[in-house]
């Protein structure tokens, strides 16, 4: 990732970079204010150009345990729950590859073909 977004901006602009046939469609920064689940869905909505409330079926819950990812990467403000994981977490949601990075950036890329989710 070569582009550095403004730290104050929660929603990044379309970058248009292509890597391995993946087109980055949207990115957004998790800052701990809202649940990671919510921020991921907002990023997917931005990638589709729809309202977050229009992102339906399936619920993100059925694709990834975002609550555990959130704790592992970012921990919580309580002393007993420190971050334990490093690096990034990737998963597919509907037609997107979603990448959650340790620094809080959520990147949503189109995989080109609509993937089956279960």
């Amino acid at each position: 990732m070569t582009s550095r977004q403004d730290r104050n901006s929660k929603e990044g602009e379309y970058l248009g970079d292509r890597t391995n046939d993946l087109t980055q469609a949207a990115q957004r920064r998790y800052d701990g204010e809202r649940e990671l689940t919510t921020e991921i869905v907002y990023a997917v909505a931005a990638a589709r150009g729809v309202e977050p409330t229009d992102v339906h079926s399936p619920p993100l819950y059925e694709c990834v345990d975002a609550a555990t990812v959130e704790t592992a990467l970012f921990g919580r403000s309580t002393s007993e729950d420190r971050p334990v994981a490093d690096g990034t977490v990737e998963f597919t949601y509907a037609e997107f590859l979603v990448t959650v990075r340790k620094d809080g950036w959520i990147q949503v890329s189109e995989t080109g073909a609509r993937q089956k989710t279960s």
Binding site: G32, E33, R34, E35, L36, T37, T38, V41, Y42, E51, P52, T53, V55, H56, S57, P59, L60, Y61, E62, D65, A66, A67, T68, V69, E70, T71, A72, F74, R76, S77, T78, E80, D81, V84
Partner: protein, 151 residues
């Protein structure tokens, strides 16, 4: 992060009560994973409280009530973006979590929540620990319901 209960992430919104000493919670509660997990997040507890007095909820109404409680504002002052954020978190996280544990049922077509086979078990646990754990939350959930029903 030793088990599922501590793996539950949530925003620190300042409203999360201190979890009481596990020994203070009835053994019966601890033995029931779905009860324990259902109660593991303030939004899920609030959702369960609302089922105490009204068995059916639209997801939008519920999102509004939870946003009002979290923001400590009346329902009509809830900002649309806050309601949207809560709606998304309910739809994509907390509701499917409770559906999986059969604590609530969700009708996708009507976007309506209702009680399910494990609801009573969870409500019984909430009734038992509610006073010490989260009385203010229950009071708010009930008062919102009262407001709704008198409209």
């Amino acid at each position: 992060m030793g088990n599922n209960s501590s793996g539950e992430a949530e925003p620190n919104d300042g409203s999360k009560p201190h979890v009481p000493n596990p020994e203070a919670i009835a053994d019966a509660v601890l033995k029931l994973d779905h009860v324990h997990d259902a109660l593991g997040h303030p939004r899920r507890r609030y959702l369960c409280y609302t089922l105490l007095e009204r068995t059916e909820w639209s997801l939008t109404d519920l999102a509004t009530n939870i946003a009002a409680w979290e923001g400590d504002v009346p329902e009509h002052e809830v900002r649309p973006d806050e309601r949207t954020a809560v709606y998304v978190s309910l739809y994509h996280n907390h509701v499917p979590n409770l559906v999986e544990r059969r604590v609530v049922a969700y009708d996708e077509t009507t976007e309506t929540l209702s009680a399910a086979e494990n609801t009573q078990q969870v409500l019984a646990a909430l009734e038992g620990i509610g006073a010490s754990l989260n009385g203010a939350q229950e009071t708010h959930a009930r008062s919102e319901i009262d407001d709704e029903s008198t409209r």
